[in-house]
């Protein structure tokens, strides 16, 4: 399904295309195609510089209101830009947590002061954000967070531990789910607090993943400090805010990802042609199935975005489960197409090929941001009205 462009939209597309071409063939040419899943810890400084250049040229946070530094672009324009970005091989956006998760949360739940303080640096890529949700004892059961925040004078004092925090190593700020009322029922004693990362009370320990790189980390809070006013959506109201963020995570950020998937898929097809796997009728079926699945994903996403604002639509509910399964299957298909060559690394001691990275990293897709099992619970309970499990 193709987007039909108006003259104005065509002009917008051409402007984006020209700028991306110029930058990614010029000052940022080394960044082309870098920083994707499995490669997120590479070229960090350069990708921050890229984010600043994008911000200065007005390409970050396109859909945000003008008062917060956005361009109030339509969803369609955002889709156009995303397509051009991936077509130009733009690098993984190091500011995406700020742009796609915290920003929309602040626009929705933040105070005017918080919006004024935190949104412009996200647009400018001056501040990089990470998400402090999961804990060793709070994975799928996120409401069980134990990291504690206590108000002392005009500061929150935070103690506890977060885990699986993507990009914690190079982030300036973290939005942290903290327990602020230990006596309240577990969903009602949580606050959403904005915490600066570069301080004495915080220690970041990168976690080496199955692919060998370290894109996420453990974050230890030992008397870390946060400003009293940096609670989003009110004290003890953090669960509601966090659920809002999850909805954003399922929403606007999917379009860019689709184009990325398409590029990966095209490379898998190319590999199949080179290896002769396209002669295998089973592989042909699987490639066609993946292609159909990809196109369906795109229409799903466009339907979902068109319905945005509607409370809870089915397309949004199924999005995560659908794309994570698709992507996992693509990784496996890539390996199957390569045959014995699938095993061979790019080099020692453990330099994975691009497709090996997809294969391995897609295993995280069905786990993070609500595992497939949690997604199915949400779909069943919220989408279909099935009764909850007795607790």
């Amino acid at each position: 399904m193709e987007l039909q462009l108006t003259e104005q939209e065509r002009a917008f597309r051409d402007e984006a295309r020209a700028w991306l071409q110029e930058q990614l063939n010029g000052p940022f040419k080394d960044l082309r195609g870098r920083g994707a899943s499995g490669d997120q810890d590479s070229y960090v400084e350069e990708r921050i510089a890229w984010g600043k250049a994008m911000g200065a040229a007005g390409w970050n946070c396109l859909g945000w209101p003008r008062e917060f530094g956005g361009r109030e672009c339509s969803i369609k324009e955002e889709a156009i830009f995303n397509e051009e970005y991936v077509r130009a091989n733009g690098p993984g956006n190091i500011g995406h947590i700020g742009e796609t998760l915290l920003g929309p949360t602040l626009i929705h739940f933040g105070s005017p002061e918080q919006q004024k303080r935190f949104l412009p640096p996200i647009v400018a890529s001056d501040e990089i954000w990470c998400q402090g949700y999961s804990e060793p004892g709070a994975g799928s059961d996120l409401a069980n967070v134990q990291t504690k925040a206590t108000l002392v004078g005009d500061e929150w004092v935070i103690d506890g531990q977060k885990i699986w925090t993507s990009g914690a190593q190079h982030s300036d700020w973290c939005f942290v789910l903290c327990r602020t009322d230990p006596d309240a029922p577990k969903h009602r004693g949580i606050s959403y607090i904005l915490v600066p990362m570069k301080q004495a009370g915080i220690e970041v320990r990168p976690i080496k993943q199955m692919g060998g790189s370290a894109e996420f980390a453990e974050v230890f809070f030992d008397g870390a400090k946060a400003h009293k006013d940096h609670v989003v959506g009110g004290v003890n109201n953090g669960w509601k805010v966090a659920m809002g963020t999850l909805a954003f995570e399922r929403g606007a950020s999917t379009l860019g990802q689709q184009y990325l998937f398409q590029q990966e898929f095209e490379q898998v097809v190319e590999a199949a042609k080179q290896t002769g796997a396209t002669k295998d009728p089973v592989i042909r079926q699987r490639l066609a199935d993946a292609w159909i699945g990809l196109k369906v994903m795109r229409v799903n996403a466009l339907r979902m975005l068109e319905h945005q604002g509607a409370d809870l639509n089915r397309e949004a509910l199924i999005s995560k489960l659908y794309w994570s399964n698709w992507h996992r299957d693509l990784g496996k298909l890539a390996m199957d197409i390569l045959g014995p060559e699938a095993e061979i690394l790019d080099g020692g001691p453990y330099e994975l090929t691009r497709m090996q990275k997809w294969y391995l990293f897609a295993r995280a897709d069905t786990i993070y941001a609500g595992s497939n099992q949690i997604q199915r619970n949400i779909i069943g309970e919220r989408g279909l009205g099935l009764p909850k499990e007795p607790r």
Binding site: M1, E2, L3, Q4, V269, A272, K273, T278, P281, R284, Q285, L287, A288, D289, W291, I292, G293, K295, V296, M297, V299, N300, L302, R303, L305, E306, H307, R314, E315, L317, I318, L321, Y322, Q373, Q375, R376, N377, I379, G380, E381, G383, L384, G385, L386, P387, K388, E389, P390
Partner: protein
């Protein structure tokens, strides 16, 4: 572009649902499927005369309403949901499309107005015995005899072939092979030498027939499109049929999910509704995920068809493959979730399960369509 149905289309859906809940209730479906004719003539009259469904996609110049293929989509979903027993699909989604795409001005004027009015029912006879789905499936032959053609062969799996008034027959020139030499003929069902008979089938809600052509002589004006170049016309007709069928599958699959969910909410075991167990809940969640995705696939294809795009093959095959898999999966899971009662004749689950398999193998099964997509991808 809009990525969802318009308010008018939603209204059409609501009106269709109201009508079908009354006129295609389970009891009415069971009554219709028990007949050899396979449909209720009064319902056919109502939906063609009162509701003008048969006129929907026929252009205004030929007595139709000139609406788009996307307008038809919600209607097809509702017909699938209600398991409507009707020659609508064979007449409108296959037969009329062959005439629309391949007919001359005179042919359109001859047939389309009476199709739009529900007076002429049409069937498409293209497949023959066996599992082939492409041009190779066509073995029936034609030969020229002066300004007439003589047709010979046996057509299988002809939807509503035993009740249609007009039968579109795909035949090939003697000794031709592959894509070449195929022509479509619009043959009156009472043509001498044409024998048709109902084929009892597992899915009783849509009737199939065998059409035998024993030196059936038809006038030259029966030829649709260019002689010998009919495969393209046949494919385009089939693609439109596949798209409508995909939409029908989505509606039927959704009904299976609704049945399963309702049952899972009320059926108690171990002191709680079975829908509170993740084993059941997750099945339902997977069904919903497949159904909404199938709807996207079918919607995309319907929208393209509505825009009059030249090549629908990839979208049609994608939709047909995806929606077939979805419907089958949901129909099977519905039985599993119902347990023993789902295996009985009394419960309607088997009617959907049977329709799912019937539509899956109709007009090309999923592996046929995935291979077709693979070819369009340049593999």
């Amino acid at each position: 572009m809009e990525f969802s149905f318009s308010e008018d289309q939603n209204e059409l859906r609501r009106a269709a649902r109201r009508f079908l809940e009354a006129e295609s209730s389970e009891a009415r479906v069971r009554a219709a499927m028990d007949t050899e004719q396979g449909y209720d003539s009064a319902v056919w009259e109502q939906l063609s005369e009162e509701l003008a469904w048969t006129a929907l996609t026929i252009p205004e110049g030929y007595g139709g309403l000139g609406m788009s293929y996307l307008d038809l989509h919600p209607l097809m979903e509702e017909m699938g949901r209600a398991l409507l027993c009707s020659p609508f699909f064979s007449t409108i989604c296959l037969g009329a499309n062959a005439i629309l795409l391949g007919g001359s001005e005179a042919q359109k004027e001859e047939w389309l107005p009476s199709i739009a009015a529900g007076e002429t029912k049409v069937a498409l006879a293209y497949a023959e015995k066996g599992r082939e789905s492409g041009a190779d499936a066509i073995h029936a032959t034609y030969r020229r005899d002066g300004d007439r053609y003589v047709l010979r062969g046996t057509k299988h799996y002809v939807i509503d072939g035993h009740t249609a008034d007009l039968i579109i027959v795909a035949a090939r020139a003697e000794k031709s092979q592959g894509l070449d030499g195929i022509s479509l003929f619009a043959v009156s069902a009472d043509a001498p030498g044409l024998q048709r008979s109902w084929t009892p089938s597992m899915d009783q809600t849509r009737k199939l027939a065998i059409v035998e052509l024993e030196d059936v002589t038809v006038p030259g004006k029966s030829l649709l499109g260019e002689e010998g170049r009919g495969w393209d016309l046949c494919e385009r007709t089939l693609d439109l049929g596949r798209i409508a069928l995909a939409a029908e599958q989505v509606g039927a699959a959704e009904m299976c999910l609704e049945m399963a969910v309702e049952y899972a909410k009320v059926r108690q075991q171990f002191g709680r509704p079975i829908g509170s167990f993740q084993a059941i809940k997750h099945k339902c969640a997977d069904m919903l995920t497949m159904i909404e995705s199938a709807r996207s696939a079918a919607f995309h294809a319907s929208a393209l068809a509505g825009q009059g795009e030249a090549d629908l093959s990839e979208a049609a095959s994608s939709a047909k493959a995806f929606c077939s898999d979805t419907f089958f999966h949901c129909a099977a899971e519905n039985i599993q979730i119902h347990g023993g009662i789902g295996f009985t004749w009394e419960h309607p689950a088997h009617m959907y399960f049977k329709r799912a398999k019937a539509t899956e193998v109709l007009l090309g099964d999923p592996s046929f369509h995935r291979e077709r997509v693979a070819q369009r991808m340049g593999l």
